[in-house]
Amino acid sequence: MAAQSDNDLVARIAAGDQLALQTLYGRHHVKVFRFALRLLRSEPSAEDVVSEVFIEVWRNAAQFEGRSEASTWLLAIARNKAISMLRRQREDELDDESAAAIEDEADDPEVALQKKNKGDVLRACLSRLSPQHREVIDLVYYHDKSIEEVARIVGAPEGTVKTRMFHARKQLAELAKAAGVDRGWP
């Protein structure tokens, strides 16, 4: 039997089907978690985002209009939750404990270079992109979102998305070059 599409699952959730919610959760919770974690840099906060996303899906599945993939809808909800959380954190003025939690665990690019591994350097640089650039890079390269879908998730015009991606790549190239990996672009 063919697996039900995500959109069919959302229709079942709208009808109160908890099993459908569990199936949708099983399919997407890891990617939603990683997307939130890259934005928030805190595992407990990213887990909070995951639970809030799927609770919102449970409560508002009937409002999903099916004009995009369900995964795009989930990431858009996750982004909104994460941004709200970041705003609250800023307003609360981070205490030492939470400040420590958002320290990046990746190697410093220079440290990575000492390991003489280009992949390590690039991953270290990817972790040091601005949040906006990190987000667009992840959506395009890891979440496989089209231009239209990224625009829907971040709430920006498609032209802005293309420009943002170009600058993200440029920032990544500059960080890599500063760390000793010059790939000759841009």
Binding site: A11, H29, R34, R38, I55, W58, G66, Y141, W185
Partner: protein, 220 residues
């Protein structure tokens, strides 16, 4: 390079990340491929984009997963807040239809439903000889398809899904389509029926508070 060619080159460059990810639409992908065939510098840039993509995937895959207690939290809320969806949503899920998810169709359905409600005062029998129109029609001829007979049913808004399921079972009926205009096409038999038989059946089916109204349907 002329300004136009420079702009075209920039536009292609901007599409490369999506080309590398395989998420461009076919038209844009073709445009990129044609440019790649002409420009070696673009091929080098594509390789960099592919390298960036590989490392982005590696970075994300190393991030782990949320703890199992996260699902427990979600489930606790779902169980504490059982949904009370509309019958429409439940029936749409039951028959695997997503028509209600499109705003345009929703608006059409709402308008059609309003018309149906306005017509409710008329008797079912008086609707039988109504004129044909687009979409669902009341029919002046036997409302049976070659495969069997069907009628259009509008359920009461407060009807429960289990009640509707039992009602269908009792009448050896099944939902085959809908909702459109708030009505479901319900198959009620394997054989063709005459107009009188359909009228009698419609009256019988409508004799329950679960059902708002029943109309004969033309085959579609």
């Amino acid at each position: 390079m002329t300004r136009d060619r420079r702009e075209e080159a920039d536009a292609i460059e901007a599409l490369l990340p999506w080309y590398a990810a395989g998420t461009l639409d076919p038209g844009e992908a073709k445009r990129v491929e044609e440019a790649l065939a002409r420009r070696p510098d673009l091929r080098a840039s594509l390789e960099i984009a592919r390298e960036d993509r590989d490392e982005t995937i590696a970075l994300n895959e190393a991030l782990g997963a949320p703890g199992t207690d996260v699902w427990t939290r979600v489930l606790a809320v779902a169980q504490a807040e059982p949904r009370k969806p509309s019958l429409k949503a439940r029936l749409a899920a039951l028959v695997g239809l997503g028509a209600e998810r499109h705003p345009g169709r929703l608006a059409w359905a709402a308008a059609a439903a309003a018309i149906v409600i306005a017509l409710q005062a008329a008797t079912i029998l008086s609707l039988l000889p109504a004129a044909k129109g687009p979409g669902y029609q009341t029919a002046s001829q036997a409302s049976a398809t070659p495969e069997g007979a069907s009628v259009l049913v509008s359920f009461a808004p407060d009807a429960r899904l289990d009640q509707v399921g039992l009602w269908l079972q009792q009448h050896h009926a099944s939902i085959v389509e809908g909702p459109r205009g708030g009505m479901y096409r319900v198959r009620v038999g394997d054989k063709s029926l005459t107009k009188d038989q359909v009228a009698a059946l419609a009256a019988e089916l409508a004799a329950t508070p679960l059902v708002h109204m029943v109309l004969p349907a033309t085959g579609e």
